[in-house]
Symmetry: C2
Subunit: 391 residues, 2 copies
């Protein structure tokens, strides 16, 4: 019940134990094509180029940025938590001239703040996190795409922690590139990074196409500044997932089975229903921790559905209480980073763990652990408040 990774859906784990098939077996290429279609529904997009990067969510971020950004390009990162710093760090390693704007942890940006910075910096790429588990905040994106389109800026969004549990509409919001991971609201294990790219983003990457020696044909003329990574060269990865099926990496078959099952379950549930499920269980957990007398961190109106941060009560040993939750009750809750380190716990309700029994048992256990630590808690206050939300 931490901020992720969380328990995977048993159906996803079962899917991952299926027998392998060859890289170019018609069954395998059909699975790849199905996976592309399923993730179009997850990202609410018509983007043809919707596929998986073979690595953790951070691999998806790096693939997006290294493929879009040439050395010297300006990148603007609105930082409202730890993962904005990560985007900054990765963009810098791509050779970008990175500009940042910041709000205090626990807040998000207004469209006006972002537009002012876009107009001033004139970046090639605006790189923004949707949901930052470090602060629990969910940055509204609906207006940013229009701002970026007007200023001819590419909009990249890291939706690792948010997609599936919070609304995300890639086409409607004009997001050029979105990346994700399986280990949060998608209910799978870390290790595969779904990605979607708009035609505008694809055109930018196509202008840097250098097909690998030994595979290129006479019509493959290298152009533009070569992408600094082979593994993350999305032009080549698109050729592998696309009709040409040009050999690149050896697709991680078991992870593909898992990623496909994550999306299949979400699409079967319905994306809106999945988001509503996360809203419900997130609201129950929020009410529950308040019912235990805990103070919630940050601007709750912009809190992600799937995680809440609570101040560690005075007098309670934060790490000791987390250890007691894990050792005595088998429930993991999260510590925190940076300015919040040692000050808050983070409790998730996402993916397979966005369930009533998971919320209730976590609150019941937390009440006991707080009481053992000497906190003044109302007996039944947590589960009672959550039950009220459910009723």
């Amino acid at each position: 019940m931490g901020p992720g990774p969380v328990d995977a859906d048993p159906r996803v784990l079962r899917a991952m134990s299926a027998s392998l098939v060859g890289q170019y077996d018609p069954a395998m290429t059909a699975y790849m094509t199905e996976t592309m279609a399923l993730y179009r529904e997850v990202f609410v997009t018509q983007n043809e180029q919707t596929f998986l990067v073979d690595g953790t969510s951070r691999a998806g971020i790096e693939a997006a940025l290294v493929s879009l950004v040439e050395p010297g390009d300006r990148v603007l990162v609105p930082v409202f938590g730890r993962f904005g710093h990560l985007l900054t760090e990765i963009a810098e390693r791509c050779g970008a001239e990175v500009h940042t704007i910041e709000v205090p942890w626990g807040e998000v940006f207004t469209p006006e703040q972002v537009e002012e910075a876009v107009a001033r910096v004139r970046p090639k790429v605006l790189a923004v996190v949707q949901g930052d588990t470090a602060t629990t905040m969910c940055q509204p994106l609906a207006d940013l795409g229009e701002i970026c389109a007007r200023h001819d800026v590419l909009l990249y969004c890291d939706a690792t922690a948010s997609v599936g549990g919070n609304e995300l509409r890639a086409d409607d919001w004009r997001l050029d590139v979105v990346t994700a991971g399986l280990q949060k609201c998608l209910g799978g294990p870390s290790g595969s990074a779904p990605i979607t790219l708009s035609e505008r983003a694809v055109a930018v990457i196509d202008d840097r196409r250098h097909v690998e020696a030994g595979i290129a044909t006479d019509t493959d003329v290298a152009r533009g500044v070569r992408i600094a990574s082979n593994y993350f060269d999305l032009a080549m990865v698109m050729d592998y997932w696309g009709e040409r099926r040009l050999n690149h990496h050896t697709e991680a078959t078991s992870m593909l089975y898992g990623a496909r099952e994550c999306a299949r379950l979400l699409v079967a549930e319905g994306m809106d229903a999945a988001i509503e499920r996360h809203r419900l269980h997130g609201a129950a957990m929020l009410a529950g921790v308040r019912g235990l007398g805990l103070e919630v961190f940050g601007d709750v109106t912009h809190k992600m559905n799937n995680v809440v941060a609570v101040h560690i009560p005075a007098g309670i040993d934060g790490d000791g209480a987390r250890a007691a939750m894990l050792t005595d009750y088998g429930i993991e809750i999260g510590t925190s980073f940076g300015p919040l380190h040692g000050k808050v716990w983070r409790i998730g309700t996402m993916g397979y763990n966005a369930r009533r029994d998971a919320v209730m048992v976590t609150l019941a256990a937390l009440e006991q652990v707080l009481r053992s630590g000497g906190a003044d808690v109302t007996a039944g206050g947590g589960v009672g408040a959550a039950a009220e939300v459910y009723s």
Copy 2:
């Protein structure tokens, strides 16, 4: 029965369906530490820094090269097949000044050829493939480490296709960095890249250490030229696997379970026994294809144990025969790349498929497919020759 990826051992797939645990759960960090110890046995090394890169085997190659190589460094690649070209391509993207030497496909280099080039180029890194499935050749490495040590050159080896099925002794042969994948002789799915680094390689990477902003402490002084990738920054990956457990990527838990099981099974069998198993079944397949009247490609004295390339007989439609093997008999055999494209098939005997029944049924089916295609084959000639090897 292709050159990989091949069927995974069912025990590996079962291990991958185990429930997830949290990233810093004591059970998870214990699994990570166990996995490091198991891969030390696989690579026959005492190297402390032996762990997994979260991606396919190509991710391991890129992590090794981008972490070792600074822009402008000289890298020497002896090219004897497709994967030498891949090392060249990746090293170029790292900004290296790449020098190559080549032998015709189907041959390997002598130590003298390599030493002459090392003395002439004076590279920082010699990057060499051990086994190249494109040609089936296995480059002898025993002498190269001593040559590199004498010339103060770092020796990187891509052992993806060879380790587990052919002798590899990282310490005895003074290999500074070795990377692998699971999908060949290790009997698992693609998606995790085991790596081992000598103290000399670690020192080079430590001199480029830049701990991520937001995680660095006052004692973490950035030094050297920053590694161009965040995801593949082995200094940070080592801090994640090491005692500091500094947050980097979110470890791909299911892939780690799989990688751990691959190594556990190999170590339980004994590395020497596993190599002998690959030798035996490779010898049976070699005898079998010859028994079918097929001509073997390349210098057989340097053939890898786990794959054989055979010339497609005149008059046989190579792709049609492969399709018949898959459709009628459920057996995949491989096509080929580059100068061998359309000229040879590649047949593997590796990992879980290094088994007597897999060899025999492949030869039985291939006899039928060759006969259907109009080739002149001796009835029973393939399985008979293989059976003689087994008896």
